[in-house]
């Protein structure tokens, strides 16, 4: 069977459907975190896949299509935020209260109070992180990307990704422990 990138480059609709099924949920979550709005995330995700189809010839030479897609998504989120003042605020280095737990986590509507509390606490904690830390936490924990792929996506050394992640976890631990105590 052909590689996914070759099928994508040929314009095989089933290959694009496969790619959507593999990545859409993770990309959408990342966009929600960056833009602070599920509606904006919907629009941007659609725009990304349209751009991907239009530039499909380039995909034949792409080694890691997931990293490429996240890179595109990041660029598109930045472009979108530059056009939308509300989203731009979310992309500022610190954006308290801009992330709603119900937009990020299923547990926000869970029956048990402990899960709901955890979802709200983590959403608040993420809001308090610097943007570059928040982004790495989301890419690693919720999008399932390794540090090496994250480094490719962000265009920074892998060591930088690892140190930012550790700093983010320490900051989250501090803020959530303080909140819970």
């Amino acid at each position: 069977m052909d590689k996914l990138t070759e099928r994508l480059a040929r314009g095989d609709p089933a290959a694009f459907a496969d790619l959507y099924d593999q990545c859409a949920d993770r990309l959408h979550h990342y966009l929600c975190l960056r833009l602070g709005s599920r509606d904006d995330a919907d629009d941007v995700l659609q725009e990304i896949f349209i751009r991907l189809v239009r530039g499909r010839k380039r995909l034949a030479s792409v080694e890691n299509v997931t990293a490429y897609l996240f890179q595109m998504t990041r660029n598109e989120a930045i472009r979108h935020a530059s056009r939308r003042p509300r989203a731009r605020r979310t992309l500022d280095s610190r954006a308290p209260d801009s992330l709603a737990a119900e937009e990020l986590f299923c547990e926000s509507s869970a029956a048990d109070a402990e899960s709901r509390e955890l979802a709200e606490s983590v959403a608040r904690g993420l809001s308090l992180l610097a943007e570059e830390q928040r982004e790495i936490v989301d890419l690693h924990i919720y999008c399932g990307l390794g540090f090496r792929v994250i480094a490719d996506v962000l265009g920074v050394p892998q060591g930088t990704v690892a140190s930012r992640y550790r700093a983010a976890i320490a900051a989250l631990r501090l803020s959530l422990t303080r909140e819970l105590s």
Binding site: G11, P13, F16, A17, Y20, D21, A24, D25, R26, L27, H28, H29, C32, R38, A41, D42, L45, Q46, F49, I50, L52, V53, R54, E103, L104, F105, C106, E107, E114, S115, E117, L118, A119, S121, V122, V137, I141, Y142, I169, L172, R173, L176, T177, L180
Partner: protein
């Protein structure tokens, strides 16, 4: 919750993209893909080719039906071949002038090259009617 660690983050389930978004995105991708464009172009080419073929056929039919008329108008009626005149003369001698004229009409019509023999043959009665029967 009393402590926080990585596992606390991992216990949360990220919300998925809306289900209806899939159809929207796949639909917009399909509109951009070459298969659809090729199908559209194929259909357009087929329509143009069909229209062209129909126009050609119509012109060919019109030409075929009209050529003989226009030739006849331009050049006058076609002369009755000598061989037919000779045969008619022999038949007139053997039978009667009316029978010879009828047979001449039939022979002239049969010698026409198109499917409109009969209608064109009717334009030649002057030739056959002028046929003189030798005494």
């Amino acid at each position: 919750m009393t402590t926080f660690d990585d596992d606390a983050l991992k216990r949360l389930t990220p919300r998925a993209a809306p289900l209806e978004l899939r159809a929207r995105v796949l639909g917009s991708m399909e509109r951009e893909l070459p298969g659809r464009m090729a199908r559209t172009i194929d259909f357009a080419l087929f329509a143009v080719a069909t229209a062209g073929l129909a126009a050609s056929l119509a012109f060919a039919v019109w030409s075929a039906s009209d050529t003989a008329d226009r030739l006849a108008q331009a050049l006058g009626p076609r002369a009755t071949p000598t061989s037919i005149v000779d045969i008619s003369a022999d038949i007139a001698r053997a039978t009667d002038p009316e029978t010879a004229r009828e047979l001449t009409r039939s022979l002239v019509a049969a010698s026409m090259p198109t499917a409109h023999n009969r209608s064109e043959a009717l334009q030649y009665p002057p030739v056959s009617s002028e046929l003189s029967v030798p005494n």
